[in-house]
Point group: C2
Chain length 351, copies 2
């Protein structure tokens, strides 16, 4: 499956608004089918019926015409390592990779539109685009949602809105998030105060792979906490507005770093570049850390130009499951570290 | 003075026998003039007379014809930083750079033959050649010694041999030493046992800048301890024989390192190369440490070819006094670290 062996996805393009800081924008909608128990309460038979109904909806000719060809499969049909690759590609959640037989997945060939079936809700629809393009992502999500609703009956209450397994998602069922590269705020120790302020604005900031995970590569995800009591548009505008404020702070932090610490900064960024382009073994953590520095160095025009898409792709291309799956055999950690170093050298090669 | 601004000296050529490990060979003869107090006991007037006599001896037409043009000067005529450059170039001892008015210095234009005048003895004659070429260095030293003796009367006793200020130099007055690059023995922790064994053989092993200094860049100096009771030839053969044994051990250690730890070694050597070719600031200690690794990597053919002379020249070209003197102004430590990084990048540049 191309999905599992190709490390490049369209969200890595490095295009879109404010792409020097915003890696990607994501809209996720939570939907459930009417009169059917939520996934954690349903039996296998019901799960199969839900899966079939949704498969039918996305296999329709009109769906294909509008959004392109889709892949569809049950997650049990994949090896654990392959499921892990989908997590690393931000297409499914870690929970959805747990091997439970009810879980299924669908996505368009271009990976912009992805559906987790029978994760926490019957449907978790995701649209993922490069740069700060939340409105466009929402427009697409809306179209997919409308198209699905032509075939499916959603659980919806006039009073509460869309009903979801977890009450925090009830209402609009929307989560809008942006993935940001924040080395400037990290190195000037401003992340704790950022977390504080965004929490007060009803938003959360998390590390790269979602809830409870540590930020790696200075990549942070900003998303709304509340989905009830606000319209979708209000939620999206709120995330955009806070993201813009963080972008401004990050740009200022980079300026301050450069102005007040130029020589040490240049040295550190060039050394990171020197290590990444020469190392023969590298751990995932070190790679993410150094790639963040090199990306900063390229944005500050201290280092030679490297396309943004290269850095975005390397987030996935250097991840453990992706590397192991690509090798088609079990890799010892040391072998993985060598493969990782090799891929980084190849991708960073400047002609 | 070219001597102070040119970082390259003939002993850095990287030629001669076993030049993969032996950087240079040095013969030093201690001589004193008859019936004149040793330097630490003499007055200024006597010091001036000694200096003049020696200057006359090396300024003779026949001396020039045989050994080439020589520079001659009193050390007080140099700024302290300039004297320090001569120490870094291994042309004078740290003691001789102390600014005492009695001290003088002479060397041939090619820097192979150098004389410290009124250091511990009236004359300390040094011949410095690349590679393991102690016999050739001794032949040259002997010729210079003979030439000087045509004009000077040495303090010599039939019973003890050449008389010297310190009894450990009495007898032949010779010190034969080799400067060795021993990363293999260092990384396999064999230096302590090496020190032990060489001491039992009447030899000492010291760090790069002579007695009491720590080894930097994995460079060690092997030299004889005793000068009395043995002939010059026996002393030299002893140093050559022990040096050869160390060379063999070092080659074995490199083989073991490569065989048993290949991947980690390759990674470390490539990283060192990546840092040195990219860093924008580097301390003297870090530079020496990384240059040692890159040199090892080149010798093991893991890294791209770099001429041996480049590494030898960088020992001097990255030293603090040399860098400061070259800038012709007082450099802050951070500025010096930037200059050092720049010189290293330029010299390691591979076309």
């Amino acid at each position: 499956m191309n999905l599992l062996t190709n490390s490049f996805s369209p969200w890595m393009a490095g295009t879109g608004s404010d792409a020097d800081i915003v890696v990607s924008s994501r809209i996720r909608l939570a939907r459930n089918l009417k009169d059917i128990p939520f996934p954690h309460l349903m039996d296998e038979n019901t799960a199969n019926n839900v899966t079939k109904e949704i498969e039918k909806a996305i296999s329709s000719r009109s769906f294909k015409q509008k959004f392109g060809k889709t892949e569809f499969f049950k997650l049990v049909s994949l090896a654990p390592i392959e499921r892990q690759v989908l997590v690393e590609k931000h297409l499914i959640s870690p929970d959805h990779a747990d091997g439970h037989p009810r879980r299924a997945f669908a996505c368009t060939e271009d990976e912009r539109i992805a559906l987790m079936i029978n994760e926490e809700d019957h449907i978790r629809l995701q649209v993922l685009l490069p740069g700060l393009e939340l409105r466009q992502a929402y427009d697409i999500a809306n179209m997919v949602d409308d198209k699905l609703e032509e075939k499916l009956f959603y659980a919806f209450s006039e009073k509460y809105g869309y009903l979801t397994a977890c009450p925090t998602n009830t209402g609009t069922g929307i989560r809008a998030s942006t993935m940001l590269h924040l080395p400037g705020l990290t190195y000037t120790n401003q992340i704790p105060s950022l977390l504080n302020i965004t929490a007060k604005l009803g938003l959360t900031v998390r590390g790269l792979y979602g809830e409870g995970t540590k930020a790696r590569g200075d990549l942070y995800q900003v998303s709304n906490q509340i989905t009830l009591g606000l319209t979708e548009e209000e939620i999206i505008e709120n995330v955009i507005s806070v993201t813009r404020q963080i972008i401004n702070q990050e740009r200022m932090a980079r300026e301050v770093l450069y102005r007040e610490n130029r020589y040490a900064l240049e040295d550190e960024l060039w050394r990171s570049y020197g290590i990444l382009t020469n190392a023969r073994m590298i751990s995932s953590d070190e790679a993410m850390n150094l790639l963040s520095k090199v990306r900063l160095g390229v944005e500050l025009k201290i280092l030679p130009e490297i396309e943004r898409s290269v850095f975005n792709e390397l987030i996935v291309a250097t991840a453990p499951a992706y590397l192991t799956n690509l090798a088609q055999r079990n890799l010892e950690p040391a072998e993985r570290d060598r493969e990782r170093a090799k891929i980084i050298r190849e991708k960073l090669k400047i002609n």
